[in-house]
């Protein structure tokens, strides 16, 4: 079975690796979680 040739002017498609998306979110998510944890720990003094 032949693959249809791309139409003239049609852009090639891409696929963003799920691992890259996960890595990018982890890169910003982990420091944010660290900051949130420390802030909640400090804020807990308010209710202690």
């Amino acid at each position: 079975m032949s693959t249809p040739a791309p139409r003239t002017g049609e852009q090639p498609t891409t696929h963003t690796p799920v691992g890259l998306v996960a890595f990018a979110w982890a890169l910003v998510g982990v420091p944010l979680a660290y900051g949130l944890y420390n802030t909640i720990k400090a804020a807990s003094a308010l209710f202690g």
Binding site: P12, T13, T16, A24, G35, L36
Partner: protein, 472 residues
């Protein structure tokens, strides 16, 4: 001003099939770094002792940075829109990191002017360009949820301080073992702060460059699956037309929104600036407060959380209820909570904390929702540049807010002896400001047709971007 080819906008146009959920972390990578600007208090005392300078002389560093933020966002907004997010994020990283490196040199060599030049001037330019760099890109990637998209990025600016504060304390403890953040009264050495600046600069360089190199812009006709632009057009106050930045600032809508942002930010800063001493003063009995210093620090942390949460929660909510109604909530309900704070805030700690937390969530929400409001009114064409010019309201509020609060408190008494009643005049001034903002928001109507850019189909040759209109 041309940019090197690897930074150019046409090099980062996404191919079909690109996952748009890679864009928010790219934006967050920048905003989480520049949000450090809100964490300068952790080394303020150390700098005062190191330079043997006054608090005011050290405070000027932050003031220069905020003024430069407003100015650079206004001046470079059009450049950011023209050259795209990679060039903007890259440039922001260069300025922001240079600010830290020059500042570090200033501390090592004991020259305060290098801190003004570094963190204040260079860093401030990095702040301004970095703050607006991902906004228009996010709006174009998320036409179905612009409030959520910009809320995610601008939440990062609030989150940056949450990360930088504990990280800075930890790093200064490593560089100066005599400094223990858990022990009140210990102050890190100047060299520890210089080492901190150097380390933060290098960490931020890596993070911001990561954001710059993964960011992409959507192709001209791209739209998310299942998204029907006609549903956007059906909402009131939401345009499918475009207005240039030069024309936008000639419309009453821009200045009404400037007033709205100015009033909302001024009111929020009134609490943010004075948070720790304020809660102690509200619950003072004689010369001592029933609220300990550690508890007051916890209160400041809680406000930071609500400031950050308000950015994502309220901005996302605006996608459903509309931008004008959400600002009616920020300003109208904000007035109610300010009145409650002034009148019954001192009756119980939980009432005080609740009122302040809600007000701070509205403060954050106001920042995060305004890019989507601009998109609704002026379209996506130069929304980054328009946003940059609107941020002059932030710079103005940053001067006026503390002036009002400090001016009123100076008239009422001396710090350490103030009580809840001494804050009332300042709080009622904030209520008045919110009322002005509320009316300004009510007056916002759709932008007149004479300011619209001609559509590409109106001109003989199809252009990649709309031609500028004749109205200047």
């Amino acid at each position: 001003m041309a940019v090197p080819a690897f930074l150019a906008r046409d090099r980062i146009v996404a191919k079909p099939g690109f996952n748009r959920w890679l864009i928010p972390p790219a934006a967050l990578a920048v905003h989480l770094c520049i949000g450090q600007a809100y964490a300068t208090s952790v080394y303020k005392t150390a700098l005062v002792e190191h330079f043997d300078a006054s608090l005011t002389a050290i405070g000027i560093i932050f003031s220069i940075a905020i003024v430069m933020l407003g100015l650079s966002a206004a001046v470079f907004g059009t450049w950011v829109d023209k050259n795209g997010p990679r060039a903007a994020m890259f440039t922001s990283a260069v300025f922001w990191v240079s600010g830290f490196l020059v500042g570090s040199l200033g501390i090592y060599t004991n020259q305060l002017w290098l801190l003004y030049l570094g963190y204040g001037f260079l860093g401030g330019i990095g702040l301004g360009i970095g703050y607006i760099s991902p906004v228009s890109t996010l709006i174009k990637w998320f036409p179905d949820r612009p409030g959520l998209a910009t809320g995610m990025a601008i939440m990062g600016f609030g989150g940056g301080a949450l990360i930088a504060s504990p990280l800075s304390r930890q790093l200064m403890n490593w560089y100066d073992p005599n400094y223990d953040p858990a022990v009140a009264g210990t102050v890190p050495s100047g060299n520890a702060v210089a080492g901190l600046f150097l380390t933060l600069g290098l960490i931020y360089l890596v993070f911001m460059m990561f954001g710059a190199f993964i960011v992409r812009v959507p192709a001209a006709n791209w739209r998310p699956d299942g998204f029907d632009p006609s549903t956007v057009k059906a909402k009131s106050l939401v345009t499918t037309e475009n207005v240039s930045a030069n024309n936008a600032i000639r419309t009453p809508q821009f200045w009404l929104l400037w007033t709205v942002l100015f009033c909302n930010v001024t009111a929020g800063i009134g609490i943010l600036e004075q948070a720790a001493p304020m809660i102690q003063d509200f619950f003072r009995e004689g010369d001592t407060s029933t609220v300990l210093a550690a508890t007051a620090a916890g209160f400041v942390g809680l406000l930071s959380l609500f400031n950050m949460a308000g950015r994502i929660v309220w901005s996302s909510t605006s996608d459903y209820i509309g931008r004008k109604p959400i600002y009616m909530v920020y300003l109208g309900v904000g007035m109610v909570f300010y009145v409650l704070l002034a009148t019954v805030g001192s009756t119980a700690t939980w009432i005080f904390v609740l009122c302040a937390a809600v007000i701070l969530s509205f403060y954050g929400g106001g920042f995060a929702t305004v890019p989507a409001y601009l998109r609704d009114l002026f379209g996506t064409y130069q929304v980054g540049a328009i946003h940059g010019r609107l941020l002059t309201a932030w710079a103005a509020a940053g001067i006026v807010g503390p002036l009002i609060v400090n001016g009123v408190l100076d008239l009422q008494g001396t710090p350490g002896q103030l009580v809840a009643g001494d804050y009332r005049p300042a709080l009622f001034i904030m209520v008045g400001l919110l009322a002005v903002g509320f009316v300004a928001n009510l007056l916002i109507k759709p932008v007149a047709e004479k300011w619209w850019e001609p559509k590409p189909t109106d001109v003989p040759t199809a252009a990649a971007e709309p031609e500028r209109s004749n109205v200047r």
